[in-house]
Symmetry: C2
Subunit: 295 residues, 2 copies
């Protein structure tokens, strides 16, 4: 009996499927199956009910979950306490919002590799909503995203605020001076996908000005939004610090508004009892690396 079998059993029972566990563990279905079968052989007990297609745990299996989880947590704690940072190994599934991936993510990755040379990163850039969902169901160990993740068993670490500003092509014919939501409302807006934090925040900003904007076009990234805006297809909301060049070269022009767009709070979030002991430490590392505006 070994830790790999227990870990495999843990995820197979938690995810309710051997194939899901295989994906989670970066192994093939057949390997996962063999590990479980070997574990059952060693214990002399059936852990999964094979009569159905899906693998459901038996009573004995459910008993084992308790021990497997306890064992894996103890292992993680042991590696964290006894081992140096170089000891922690395995895969860290890190979900990041675009804002972070285009700013200090590369530096974070580098520092992680230096401090945790045996940890493999699996980066996942996606919309905050998807990140939160994947984090909640356990397929991400940690996320770097705006807003707060709901739930008690998380350790959110504030990363600072990011200033967003409206911008458009100078050739777009926007009036100069300070504009209100009402002034902007008639112009086509370019935002990220309907369900994104970006999109929601924009709608909120207009709503607080008691107006609805007429049209919101959506795209998938800041990069695309910036291109579209540069091409004169609308006004968009971007972090100026990332688009200095476009502003300098006159592709984009900052639009002052009243009220200004409220700064967006980012946070690093890991599960309190993550199986990956590095996760909690790396949220702190992220705070150090982050160059967002802090309190």
């Amino acid at each position: 009996m070994n830790f790999r079998q227990l870990e495999t059993f843990y995820w197979a029972s938690k995810l309710g499927s051997l194939s899901a566990a295989a994906e989670r563990l970066n192994a093939t279905q057949s390997t996962v199956s063999m590990r479980i079968i070997e574990l059952e052989r060693e214990l002399g007990v059936e852990l999964f009910d094979r009569s159905q297609r899906a693998a459901r745990t038996t009573a004995k299996g459910r008993e084992l979950i308790y021990y497997a989880e306890k064992m894996l947590r103890l292992l993680a704690e042991m590696e964290e306490r006894v081992g140096g940072t170089g000891a922690t190994q395995g895969v860290l599934r890190l979900g990041v919002a675009e804002m972070i991936s285009i700013t200090w993510l590369p530096r974070l990755v580098q520092v992680i590799h230096e401090k945790y040379p045996r940890v493999t990163l699996e980066l996942d850039e996606a919309l905050t909503k998807d990140l939160v969902e994947r984090f909640t169901n356990g397929s991400l160990d940690m996320i770097l995203a705006p807003g707060k993740v709901p739930g008690y068993s998380v350790t959110p670490v504030p990363l600072g605020r990011v200033q967003f500003a409206w911008m458009a092509s100078p050739s777009f014919g926007m009036p100069s001076g300070v504009l209100t939501p009402r002034d902007l409302q008639a112009w086509p807006v370019i935002a990220l996908s309907r369900e994104s934090y970006h999109h929601t925040s924009i709608e909120e900003w207009f709503r607080l000005g008691n107006v609805h904007c007429r049209r919101i076009d959506t795209c998938k990234s800041f990069g695309v939004a910036s291109s579209l805006a540069s091409a004169g297809l609308g006004v968009t909301l971007l972090p100026p610090r990332c688009y200095k060049d476009e502003i300098k070269t006159g592709k984009l022009r900052l639009i002052e508004t009243d009220p200004p767009f409220p700064p967006v709070e980012f946070a690093a979030t890991a599960a309190v009892e993550s199986m990956q002991p590095a996760a909690k430490q790396i949220t702190l590392l992220a705070r150090e690396i982050s160059d967002f505006e802090k309190d």
Copy 2:
């Protein structure tokens, strides 16, 4: 990292020597060394101080002992609770007194093998004193012996009483009838080694009769004592049930005494938190198998 490494580290630190751990684990020195080195490599930490010849644990090593022990206990508990009896595996070091080895030990061994087919037995017949010592220092998982083992963290299970009686060769010229310690005192006595339970009990019996016996010759086993007595070299104290044949064929004659020799209490003893989960169960098994006179 795996359980074997942790188990090896546990014993190496507990016994204070890699070679002792190797013997305890039925492995070679080099294997133990490699397991420790690999564990250190994986944790990125020195666990033993190699500057001296003996392997002393470092601070980090002492931290790890806590986790290793917790982990191994959890593993044992898991196997015990989740696995069938067929699941427990490993080596059970069983120390037995001669009285048991010449009566129901074979049956116990057979039942153990049936119920725990994956458990290997390491039988050790020795004097009670040695058994208790080896049990106390951890080189025996369980002992079957007369008397009580001192200490709190043990689970003694009474196995019943055994009647011992004085006997000698009919040609030895002992007076017939009921003899007192005073009557016996002058005759040469054959006992087990000076430090044995047997020897001590005999001295005690004479002491209670307010006499000292003149000479006690010693040997190493009941078998030898019986031969010597049969050959007319003295009077000895043996369990009659084991020497029925000798009595029937007239090689030995029972000697009635007043007071009679008090029956000897046997017990099966295992450590409360034995690493070998089968140990506690097998003390109960031993009670079932034992055909000693019970309350």
